[in-house]
Amino acid sequence: MDTVPFYIQVFTNGVVLSCYYILVAVGLNLIMGIMHIVNFAQGTVYMLSAMLLYILCEELGLNYFFSGALAIAGTAGLGILMERFLFRRLLGQFLPSLVMSLGLLLAIEGAVWLRFGIISKAVTSPFRGLFKFWGASISYERVVVIVGGLLLIAGLFIFIRHTKAGKAIRAVEQDREAAILHGIEITKICRLVFIVSFALSAAAAFLVSPMLVIDPNIGHTPLLKGLVIIVLGGMGSVTGTLVGGFIIGFIESIAGSFFDPTIASIFSFVILVGILLVRPSGLLPYRM
């Protein structure tokens, strides 16, 4: 591979990985910022929506886009149920929520394993094909992740910064008591945050599934990367998640393309430790 196509490839890989991680991490961080709980089952939510997509697409034979819409709606619905019946009563309780979400992770993965077995599944990609860009081969599946991912991230920013609901979320994140005094209903905001967070994970599954495979363990990587991104960017900070996500995505792409995937992971953690030593609260804390 020549130099220019190689760097284009590295850049493309970086953006794809960043978008993939950010979509899961931002949901995780929203829940952390608003409810002060940690949802370890966020990666499992991503896996569940991918499995739902597989059932609708491959087992029921529905159209991919229609299946995607149903999977996103279904996962958002699951978010409402989880918030109402499981997480609402743990509002602000970090450790119990951690244990509860770990239990959920294990229970859901076990159930999926029983239903689908350990053998990986794949959805038939509606975005087949490649194109050449300055000598680099780029698949349409990757373009979909990049375009879809960036649009969703931009949409989230507009929602958080310019809509009434988004402003309410920011208000709760900045000062819960003051927000309540201004008439903001915390329960509604929590429900909304769960809906947005779960829908973003489902959207990530919709975008990424044609490119990767689906099995009960696929949620582990985005969860782990998501946690690293949150610590790096700052807890509760959407902007920080975005910055952290691009840093981790590009480190993995660059280090993986020049060294080794294992070294790439080591690089990510070394940089994380380095940044935390200088800025213990992350790069951009308290910036919704």
């Binding site: 490839q9 087949r128 990767l212």
Partner: protein, 393 residues
Amino acid sequence: MRKMFCPSVLALVISLTFIPFLPNPLFAKDLVIGINTPLSGAAAPTGLGLLRAMELAAEDINATGGIKVGKESYTLKLITYDNKYDAKEAVASVNKLIYNDKVKYIITTGGTCVIAVNPLITENKILHIGYTYGGKKATNPNTPYTFRSIMEPIQGHSALLPYIVEKFKVKTIALTSTDDETGLIQAEDAEVVAKRLGLTITDKAFAPRGTADFTPMLTKLIAKKPQAIDFGAWAGSDGPLACKQAKELGYTGVMIFSYSQSIPTFEKVAAGFMDGVLFYGIYATDPSPIATQAAKRYEEKYKQKFDPIVWRNVDVGYVLKKAIETAGSVDPTAVKNVMPKVQIDGVFGRTRIGGKSYYGIDCQFLFPVPLTTYDGKQKKLVELHRGGMPADY
């Protein structure tokens, strides 16, 4: 009446006296084989495949008179323990087999399991067949009672890489594999054979199983322009995903999948990207009439679609029968000593036991291995070549 009675009684007495000396299965002794295999957990399909292959072989051998040793006849009986593909469980199972069940023949599935039980096996002089990789850690001169029933990557490469190099004019190769012990051994084996053939290794890359995106690693490998890539121990969905992503990156060289692959998974994950990909040990059609017969019997007995993984274990029962009959004894040491002389026409063709030049001991089942490619136009596998190991291996 009395005249008739006397000859009848005499005939009965004579029959009862001599029947035990006749080779009649009704009076055969039991030869117990312990099966130490995973029947639960992720490796259960592999373990069940081994068990069923042994059940089929035992049924067939018993129906045709059992194992004959001198004037005696032995009926095969199986005792099975679930080792869960866990070394501790495997050791516990072998302890039960040796000390409770008094078994002298054991078959174990799993590299870590075989390595863990080997000291017990050697100490108690149990004839042991491992359905395992594990290289020289699993079979070596210190484990004289342990044999291996499946061919390892080193044998696959030795048998098939020379053909690939010749046919596709390959001079450079890149190696990638999983970063666990199996993967590292696999890459090491490929490197040994590649260097022996004068190939230049352009690059090596390792990553954990379940890697979500191979693209960065493959970008690095492909940048060095290798004419071939060996995908080492990437299996399950990792193998096809790596294949698909390499082709998406525009790689057009020779892609070798030297580890066991599930073709249905490959067809699902890498649909449209399989054309020209090379597979070791995958059969385009049934490898032999014996294999076809085994598959038919399997489906009749278990009312399930035949799993080709069963083929790998069908020969084990017949090799044991031949070895015991050749030794003229059921004593494991005597049987162990004749194992290198045993040859049978098995599922994959002529099967023999060798490997001394590599392992330092003849412990390895050897049989011809196919090299298969996927024809994208016909959407089916096509066998390119069937290679074996040199006679002095």
